[in-house]
């Protein structure tokens, strides 16, 4: 879906008017939530950030298989200039090229901190955004009442219980979150909070405490207000630290990411995840990918926002924590291999997933390329999936979070018993 605020589309004549209004409307399109449980951690102290790309990113525009001879005939106008030309693709080893809006991620690639995996699909073949997002977040073919990251948080705490390097258990057990809403990905039995930066005239601490007490016994609301306050305090304390503001930042300075709510959340998220007493699992989301029309121009803005957000996340985490971090950016499905009648693409199947972070064995494009030639497309329409997203996620949970028990991994992703974790994703 096109988000006007992010668009450079020429179709939108009154963009200027909208931008002025929309610029003040932060966090309508991006949010970030943290998982709580994993505070009992071993000496490796890993961080995991899941980025949901809602709306279906066209994988073949983000990581372009320009070496495939069938590509141009399927979607010529959507294929950018080849590597080496002005504004051309950023070369990923001679067959694939990264979209030029992803320059920051290209830097990660060259530092061996970015791994793109192509022709990926999750548990469902639904082409409904909503069913497929439910599936992506549930970690199962159909919607469940909890998200896989929530179940992973519980398994992470269990698999690391009794290890060395315990953090303050009292602080750690409180739920933790960033973002106005908690996505299904993080809903479930493990307590989860949320936090999104904000301001305005506020009640006194005493009034907050009395409000929190009013709903203290409520099944849904109990403890929630108190937790929101705790997280707000934690995050705002971090923001007052000049060192935490990033390059050139200082308290009271204009927000350098005012036009990119995703980067704002990434900055706050990086500060929180970087803290010794902060969360270790987080989820963020960013939209703008549903490019049914005018894709070539519409896709640049959300890609650039994603790119800036990941760079900001890396920088606000700092080198030490970034070295312990894995970021997975994933979407509900890919888009049609052929360009449609309106210079866009429709709902498809195989797409791309990004794994980034100092803990990733990057600098390469993974996955088996199925080809685009005659008879190669899934249902003669979509990129044929060759990698199950759940294999990658299991590989990250096993290799990075230490959830190695196959039974535990299969409970996190129900119905995936035949799908083993991908190995070799992480640095030795």
């Amino acid at each position: 879906m096109l988000n006007l605020r992010k668009s450079h589309a020429p179709l939108i004549g009154r963009r200027a008017a909208l931008l002025g209004l929309s610029a003040a409307w932060s966090f309508g399109g991006a949010s970030l939530a943290f998982g709580d449980a994993p505070m009992l951690v071993g000496p490796r102290d890993p961080r995991l950030v899941i980025v949901l790309l809602r709306g279906a990113l066209d994988g073949m525009s983000a990581v372009v298989p320009y070496g495939d001879p069938a590509l141009a005939s399927l979607r010529g106008p959507l294929v950018g200039a080849p590597p080496g030309q002005p504004g051309g693709l950023l070369d990923l080893g001679g067959f694939y090229g990264l979209h030029p809006a992803l320059a920051g991620m290209y830097g990660m690639y060259r530092a061996n901190e970015l791994l793109a995996v192509h022709a990926v699909a999750g548990a469902t073949r639904s082409r409904s955004h909503f069913d497929a997002q439910d599936s992506l977040e549930s970690g199962a073919e159909h919607r469940l009442n909890s998200g896989w990251l929530n179940r992973a948080a519980l398994a992470f705490a269990q698999s690391n219980a009794g290890g060395r390097g315990l953090h303050d258990a009292a602080a750690s057990r409180d739920p933790m979150a960033l973002g106005v809403t908690v996505p299904l990905l993080l809903q479930g039995p493990a307590k989860v909070g949320s936090y999104a930066p904000d301001h305005t005239g506020r009640p006194s601490p005493d009034l907050y405490a009395r409000i929190a007490a009013l709903s203290g016994s409520d099944r849904l609301l109990g403890g929630t207000v108190a937790e929101g306050l705790r997280l707000r305090t934690l995050a705002e304390t971090g923001m007052q630290d000049p060192m935490a503001m990033g390059a050139g930042g200082r308290p009271g300075a204009p927000d350098p990411y005012a036009r990119n709510p995703f980067a704002q959340l990434a900055a706050a998220g990086g500060r929180l995840l970087g803290r010794p007493d902060g969360p270790r699992l987080a989820a963020m989301e960013i939209g703008g990918w549903d490019t049914h029309a005018g894709q070539a121009s519409r896709l640049s803005a959300p890609l650039a926002q994603l790119d800036q957000g990941l760079v900001v996340l890396r920088d606000s985490l700092g080198p030490e924590a970034w070295g312990r971090t894995v970021v997975v950016a994933m979407t509900e499905f890919g888009r049609t291999a052929r360009i449609n009648g309106t210079q866009g693409t429709d709902h498809g199947t195989g797409g791309v997933a990004f794994l980034a972070g100092g803990a990733i064995q990057g600098g390469r494009v993974g996955g088996d390329w199925p080809g685009l030639g005659a008879g190669k497309l899934y249902q003669d329409r979509d990129l044929a999936p060759t990698t199950d997203l759940r294999a990658l996620l299991k590989g990250v949970l096993a290799g990075h979070l230490g959830i190695t028990d196959r039974g535990a991994l299969n409970r996190i992703f129900p119905g995936s018993d035949g799908i083993g974790p991908t190995t070799g994703l992480l640095r030795a």
């Binding site: 879906m1 909208l18 709306g55 809403t181 006194s204 929101g228 939209g287 009648g341």
Partner: protein, 437 residues
Amino acid sequence: MTTPIDPFRALQRFGLGRRGDEPLPSDPHAWLIAQTTGPDPAATALGGLPSAAEGLDLLYEQRKLRQTGVKLVEPVFAADADTQMDALLDSTSPFRERLVAFWANHFTVSTRQGETRALVGPYVREAIRPYVTARFADMLFAVMRHPAMVKYLDNESSIGPQSRAGLRSGRGLNENLARECLELHTLGSDGGYSQADVTSFAAILTGWSVARPGEIENSRNGFVFRPNAHQPGDKTLLGRVFGEGEDGGVEALSMLSTHPATYRHLARQMAAHFIADTPPPQAVAKLQSVLADTQGDLGAAARVLVGLPDPGATEQRKLRTPIVYAAAAMRTLDLPQGHRPKLRGALYELGEPLWEARLPNGWSDRSVDWAAPDALLRRVDWAYGLAGQGAKADPMAVAQAALGPNLHPATMEAIRHAGDRRDGLTLLYASPEFLRC
């Protein structure tokens, strides 16, 4: 037979809370029913606002003036939106307003895409509001032929590949409107259609378009059918053959609007919105059967809805969505227009900006989606701001007027011990019984 309804519960479950200390309905059930059978009392207040055709004209005029930076759409959009929100706040027919909000969200048009800003205000007034107690088919026709929806879901640019325009330009189908119509608006994602049905329905709908500059006067309120973009020949949808032309689309919509899967989908949506995130199957079944028995009479469905059992104790009740929560809080103070904060601003602060849903499935109405710590904290902070404007009111009197016997003793105790009136009102708005429906 229906059980007698407590007037405070009627106001809370199906309305927007009590407005100040307005008289309580003596027969709450009859009061709710009357709102589905009588005329729309907001019609007068909304009468002078622009039509979709006028919105389009404004949009095109603004395009011509692009170089000058003159903004024509935005002030009109703002005035239209604020007038509609004022009508909601001051409504004497709040159940009808809840239905308008529900159906506008069911048939989401968002200003995030497709130049809909000049059209979305007219859309809610022209395609949704007049039909909330009429036949679903009539609402569906009005929606699918409204320029706002046609633009929002890209149908303007969907061209039949074998149509004259398609052959000349080499352009083709855009499935967006067809897919969302089947998945979200009518049959539901489990409604038994295939990818082939989506593609075929998209072909059926080719030519359903929006007037360009110069075409508005001869259009149907901004809607035009373009034969030269329409895919020729018969098409098959759900096993039925539909002929070429605009009539084929009308017949297809007619079939979809009365399809059993559509009734099931609508029944689930209504029950999940007004009763519980996971509604009792009997409630869904009752709504489904009244829709089937009446060929989709939404007024009849609304009348069945108000007779369904109350979910019960506070904890069983749904969390109010931001628009219902903010309107209910503002109505307790009964502040006159001009002396109250804008509801539109509240919706932004509470995370549900008006007509700006992220995706075509609209804003969530599930409790859990609005119960995150930061979302609740935003309600508290916003309520504190509102309470600052109600500094003259006695918080205990406001609380008792608003909730009557449903006010919890603990909340009364907290209000009694509040340091000042503002704190007292904030405690009311932050109490579980006020946060929920």
